[in-house]
């Protein structure tokens, strides 16, 4: 190896390996390059799914046919949901920032199984391609929604099979990433980094990885059963053949509710990194955050039934799931109190990542508290399957994971690319996005309480006012997204170069390595003596 291409002194972006050009990326086993592969894939598909969402909101700006009919609308919300859930938010922060920063934050040179890591990305891409084929072949795009509920998913003539099978393949990616992270965290922490000296982002990745390993196989098998129902009519879910469609809902949500925690736990981890750095204060209640992370990961397994309160479960199951749902709110609230307490009397640095982090807390609280309305049996019956659920869901998943993703991207951007973005444009983009986001989703709470159902391309004239506001909000929000993306993409290529190791004043290990990091991250593996958030003054 020549000195000019030494893994210790050449940035991972400039390192020349076996392959050149695009091949040097798609066959790279470097955790940082794989993280960026996920990032680019996600940003592309997020743009596609956001455009689908915008088209749906444009359709809803007035009652009746505006720009599309019911079948197109059904296909759009299905594809929007599949892309956003399976391609963006489930892999989300672990795939991008987990891959890039987990090894660096725990003082390792790579993940435990680099080749398996690359294989995960390939499974992910192959899964996406299979899903996309569902749009262009057979009897038209699937119209089931991302939940593929039985018995409709095996009665509809549309092209459900590739969509289901694609999601199944993407599940492998998730499981392999989970296994990789668990082994990496167990076996590759730097000397002296005990469990309670590990930063909080790796902690949340750890909790998430266990959910990925344990819950994802359930959805894999369930989706294969849908395939078997369609192809062979085995009758496990089909009531006409003695099957139980509620069993499908159980199996689907046994994965898909913990999946919400796959989405949100790493988001909470990223916020837990940003808040102390921009408050110049040690995180308040480190152990409480760690334990609440594990508690959320554990209790989150047993609350899936709150998606099924009107499906026909037994009364005893209803009470049990409602109780457990209220229980999981406690560790979530602990985290919010810890973040607010960290900021209290801190020296707050009003910069872009911090704006995203505090607005995350704001929208996540709205999402969380509206979740209690849905977790309560009596109120759930009234707002089930209405726009209230759509609003709650987007406040949690987009407001939670989406805001935290943007916070993390703006926080770690200079380290990842060795360039700085334009702070003014970034702040403007955040402001417009924040206004648009709330204008888009807050009216949906009102529409839902008034009784507007979800997943309809049409509505009664009574709901027109709320829909106009909401649709305008969608356009404002997308304007914000365009500004944010344009700024970041331009900055990644032409932004001001920086080699400053620690632009924000962080204390965790990623701020002690080169900017951008070298191929092997550390010339010498560090020995850890202090906790990750020890701000002296």
């Amino acid at each position: 190896m020549s000195e000019a291409n030494n893994a210790h002194n050449v940035s991972y972006l400039e390192y020349k390996g076996q392959y050149k050009g695009l091949l040097a990326w798609i066959f790279s086993t470097d955790h940082k390059r794989i993280g960026l592969l996920y990032l680019y894939t996600m940003l592309f598909f997020f743009s596609v799914a956001a455009i689908l969402g915008l088209l749906m909101k444009t359709q809803l700006i007035a009652p009746g046919y505006t720009i599309m009919g019911p079948q197109t609308y059904n296909s759009l919300f299905t594809l929007h949901g599949i892309i956003m859930i399976f391609v963006i938010v489930v892999p989300g922060l672990p795939a991008v920032f987990g891959n890039f920063f987990l090894p660096i934050m725990i003082g390792a040179k790579d993940v435990a199984f680099p080749k398996l890591n690359l294989l995960s990305w390939w499974f992910y891409i192959i899964g996406i391609l299979i899903v996309l084929t569902s749009q262009f072949m057979g009897d038209g795009p699937p119209d089931t929604g991302w939940t593929f509920y039985a018995p409709y998913s095996f009665r509809t003539p549309t092209n459900v099979l590739p969509a289901v099978f694609g999601a199944f393949v993407m599940g492998f990616s998730s499981i392999l990433t989970g296994i990789n992270f668990v082994v990496t965290i167990h076996r590759m922490r730097a000397p002296g980094m005990t469990w309670f000296k590990m930063p909080l982002f790796p902690w949340t990745l750890y909790g998430t990885a266990w959910i990925q390993i344990l819950a994802t196989p359930v959805i894999g098998i369930t989706l294969l059963l849908i395939v078997a129902e369609r192809l062979m009519g085995i009758g496990i879910f089909d009531p006409a053949l003695g099957g139980d469609p509620i069993l499908y809902q159980h199996l689907f949500w046994i994965y898909s509710h913990p999946a919400v925690y796959i989405m949100i736990l790493p988001a909470m981890g990223a916020i837990s990194e940003i808040i102390p750095v921009f408050s110049r204060k040690t995180i308040f209640g480190y152990k409480a955050i760690v334990l609440s992370t594990l508690a959320i990961a554990f209790v989150g397994y047993f609350v899936w039934g709150h998606h099924m309160f009107t499906s026909g479960m037994s009364g005893r199951a209803l009470y049990t799931f409602s109780f457990l749902t209220f229980l999981v709110a406690i560790p979530s609230a602990i985290k919010v109190f810890n973040w607010v307490s960290t900021m209290h009397k801190g020296s707050l640095q009003m910069q872009t990542p911090f704006y995203w982090a505090v607005s995350f807390i704001f929208v996540f609280m709205i999402g969380g508290l509206s979740g209690l309305v849905l977790g309560s049996l009596a109120t759930n019956v009234h707002v089930h399957d209405t726009h209230f659920v759509v609003a709650h869901f987007h406040f949690i998943v987009f407001g939670g994971t989406g805001y935290a993703f943007m916070a993390a991207l703006h926080y770690w951007f200079p380290k990842m690319f060795g360039r700085m973005y334009d702070m003014n444009w970034a702040n403007l983009g955040w402001g417009i996005f924040f206004i648009g986001f709330n204008t888009l989703y807050l009216p949906m709470f009102y529409l839902g309480i008034m009784g507007m159902p979800r997943r309809y391309y049409d509505y009664l004239p009574d709901f027109h006012g709320g829909n106009i506001v909401s649709s305008l909000g969608a356009w404002v929000m997308v304007s914000g997204i365009v500004i944010i993306f344009a700024n970041l993409i331009r900055s990644a290529r032409h932004g001001e170069k920086t080699t400053e190791k620690n632009p924000w004043g962080g204390k965790t290990l990623e701020w002690q390595v080169d900017t951008p990091p070298t191929l092997e991250n550390f010339e010498e593996i560090p020995t850890i003596e202090k906790g990750p958030y020890e701000f002296e003054d």
């Binding site: 047993f302 037994s314 199951a317």
Partner: protein, 94 residues
């Protein structure tokens, strides 16, 4: 890793394990002939659980690994059992 000890299980032990698995498979087939209602399912699950434990212990070497791995696997089994328990809050009381 080179410093880790590799326990070698004898052919004789493997043969006994195989035999145990075959006998248990025979029992789980035979038990379907008995009319025990929902208990048939429970019995099949218990036998399958025992078979899985045997495979984990000997074929997958859990018996010879550190106790920590056994603890991790046990935790996963507990989660799985709790998921079943919560599911049956629905099915047992419909």
């Amino acid at each position: 890793m080179s410093e880790e000890k590799h326990h070698i299980v004898s052919y004789r032990t493997h043969a006994f394990v195989l035999l145990a698995l075959l006998v248990l498979t025979g029992i789980s087939v035979a038990i379907t002939q008995l009319e025990m209602g929902p208990m048939n399912t429970l019995a099949a699950m218990i036998i399958a659980g025992i078979k899985a434990a045997i495979v984990l212990a000997w074929f997958m070497h859990l018996k010879f690994e550190s106790r920590f791995f056994a603890f991790m696997v046990s935790a996963v089994v507990v989660v799985f059992l709790l998921v079943l328990l919560v599911t049956f809050f629905d099915y047992s009381y419909r």
